[in-house]
């Protein structure tokens, strides 16, 4: 949806005198909305400048984007980023997460399994934090162990009805907590030297981890929650539509 959003913003800013350049991830939306200048880039949603840690390629994108300013108008001026894309070597072979999680047993609750996963991933999370100097896994302000136990309670009989953080709504804490949990896993796994592609990593999270399983189960259960915003999150923001579609296609 963001390509629609930047196209709309381009209309408003340009009509106020600011020259705009849109990077377009969804060509259909750019062509429909006709912003003044747009560069269509061939990257997946979430990566408008392409691959991480590739400053040369990022500069190439921006060079092509700024070249749009040389057109004399009127717009729309819509160009495609002229790249020779090569499939990632990472995709050439199946990727497997090097951290082995224990197989589920009857004695372990889902929260126990997540707790164990967090323990196994913690060294990689800490290394990633040292290397990057920042983390997105603490936005909720809730400690990761406390957080996963709190989220797991939504599956039980005593569903939380109040935010653990004063002054914040239940739904906001829930959403921020879910994103913290995902960020913890994704930051940990992408710190490892043999990180797979984004598709590999996201598939691993949603299909192989207990944390992913928790979010799948919450998606089903919380559609009946009393809080309107929690229900909206359960329906629209917990599990990506691509994963929902994939699970529908693969017999369980």
């Amino acid at each position: 949806m963001c390509t629609r959003a930047v196209s709309g913003l381009a209309h408003f800013l340009e009509s106020e005198g600011i020259a705009t350049i849109v990077l377009g991830l969804v060509p259909h939306h750019v062509r429909a909305m006709q912003p003044p200048r747009a560069l269509l880039v061939p990257f997946e949603l979430g990566r408008p400048l392409g691959a991480p840690h590739d400053p040369t390629a990022q500069r190439e994108v921006l060079t092509a984007a700024f070249a749009l300013l040389d057109h004399s108008g009127p717009g729309p001026v819509i160009k495609t980023f002229d790249t020779e894309v090569t499939p990632s070597a990472i995709n050439a072979e199946p990727w497997a997460c090097p951290v082995s999680f224990p197989a589920p047993t009857k004695d372990y609750t889902l929260a126990d399994r997540i707790s164990e996963e967090v323990r196994l991933l913690q060294p990689w999370f800490e290394l990633g934090y040292r290397q990057r100097g920042h983390t997105a896994a603490d936005v909720s302000g809730i400690d990761i162990e406390v957080l996963l136990q709190w989220l797991a309670r939504f599956l039980g009989d005593s569903v939380p009805t109040e935010s653990p953080v004063p002054g914040r709504s239940l739904a906001e804490s829930f959403k921020l907590g879910v994103e913290d949990l995902k960020a913890f896993y994704l930051e940990s796994i992408t710190t490892q030297p043999s990180t797979g592609s984004s598709v590999d990593v996201n598939s691993w999270f949603w299909e192989e981890t207990a944390a992913g399983e928790l979010l799948w189960q919450l998606r089903g259960k919380l559609r009946e929650h009393l809080d309107d915003a929690i229900r909206l999150h359960a329906q629209f923001t917990l599990v990506p539509t691509t994963e929902v579609a994939r699970r529908k296609m693969v017999p369980q």
């Binding site: 963001c2 629609r4 959003a5 709309g8 913003l9 381009a10 209309h11 408003f12 800013l13 340009e14 106020e16 600011i18 020259a19 705009t20 350049i21 849109v22 990077l23 991830l25 969804v26 060509p27 939306h29 909305m33 006709q34 912003p35 003044p36 990257f43 997946e44 949603l45 979430g46 408008p48 400048l49 691959a51 991480p52 840690h53 400053p55 390629a57 990022q58 921006l62 700024f66 300013l69 108008g73 717009g75 790249t83 020779e84 499939p87 990632s88 990057r132 920042h134 983390t135 997105a136 936005v139 906001e172 959403k175 994103e179 960020a183 994704l186 592609s197 984004s198 915003a229 917990l238």
Partner: protein, 157 residues
């Protein structure tokens, strides 16, 4: 110019765009406006729709039509609180430049390809209907001009 070669993981080629995205209606915002870009003195600000904020700011929620200010000179962490889960976040988690290319812009300024990089940059949250951004965007244009910014690089996610 040589065609750049880029290694990618999962491309958004036109044939890969989902039915859901193709079928999302796009509002008609009227004729395409045109502001002649300056040929010299280009000062650039990033306007993102990734739901970015600096630590301590308000997270974005459903239907948010306002924006957050990202201060180039403030070292506070850059965080993403976009409500959607339907895009890859692993690129941003590894390298903020994938979504918010501030360092790249500063390199362009140092090499003279642009005049300068604005101190203030901005982020909306792109799941909101585009027309709802209009009041905030028109107000933002005035603020940008007040800082001497004349180019907006609009970056989706």
């Amino acid at each position: 110019m040589n065609r750049p070669t880029i290694t990618y993981n999962a491309p958004m080629r036109e044939e890969d765009v989902s039915e859901h995205l193709i079928n999302t209606p796009c509002p008609d915002l009227g004729p395409t406006p045109w502001a002649p870009p300056p040929t010299v003195g280009r000062r650039v600000a990033i306007v993102s729709t990734a739901g970015l904020m600096q630590r301590g700011d308000r997270p974005f929620g459903f239907g948010a039509a306002d924006y957050r200010i990202i201060d180039r000179d403030d070292p506070a962490d850059l965080l993403m609180t976009h409500i959607s889960t339907n895009f890859d976040r692993t690129g941003f988690l590894q390298d903020h430049e994938v979504v918010f290319p501030l360092q790249r812009l500063q390199e362009f300024a140092e090499s003279g390809e642009i005049e300068g990089v604005a101190r203030y940059h901005y982020s909306f949250m792109g799941a909101t209907e585009p027309a709802q951004f209009e009041p905030a965007a028109r107000q933002l244009a005035g603020a940008m001009q007040g800082e001497g910014t004349n180019i907006a690089l609009l970056v989706p996610v």
